[in-house]
Amino acid sequence: MKVEITTEAIDPTVISSSVKNIEAGAVLTFLGTARKTSRGREVTYLEYDAYPEMAEKKMAFILGELKEKYNITDGAFVHRIGRVELGENIVVIAVSAPHSQEAFDACRYAVKRLKSIVPIWKKEVWADGEEWIGYEGELYE
């Protein structure tokens, strides 16, 4: 149940492989990447701030919830912070479960929880300005 906040580039393959298990028939990997267009504006780059100790606690708590609620076999949750260029990886949530249904439910729930209880903040930087993004339900829904 690996959890990490890091300023380094993140590799989904390593994270995803870490949750593979011979008792799991399904591995689901969610990768969030920095996209060029956000709410109609062209982003130059993103900057993430975090409360790293609390964020890792909450990420571990969420993986615990996935185990409890969805019976996942294993899970891993890694979020990058600092400056992130367009196209780069921001977050990876990987879960393994006996069947695909549980893996889908668990992974989707984790994304929702990330947007609600993990103290990480995104700043969008455009050519002519920047803004810290507050929680907006539609961002990931």
């Binding site: 701030d49 975090a50 609390m54 990330l114 209880i117 903040w121 995104k122 810290w132 929680y135 961002l139």
Partner: protein, 81 residues
């Protein structure tokens, strides 16, 4: 007693720093602490309604008493992912 205050994202930008120590006399609740913080950085108060507070890395509901060395974090609405 000394309270370790943490500010993030927009609040950090307003204060120009992410961490400060606030010295208080006698008993002090989170609400008292917030008043002291808003005196130092009046613009932080305008975010009050959307900010959640964590004491020692746990969200709190309502007001609680603080003790020496507590870490109190002011958290704007999160936007990870």
């Amino acid at each position: 007693m000394k309270i370790n205050v943490l500010l993030f994202a927009s609040l950090k930008d307003i204060a120009g720093k992410g961490q400060l120590e606030i010295e208080v006399e006698g008993k002090c609740s989170v609400e008292n602490l917030s008043k002291k913080l808003y005196e130092l950085y009046p613009k932080v108060e305008s975010f009050d309604s959307s900010v959640r507070i964590a004491v020692n890395q746990e969200f709190i509901e309502g007001d609680i008493e603080l003790k020496d060395g507590d870490e109190v974090a002011y958290l704007p609405p999160v936007s990870g992912g």
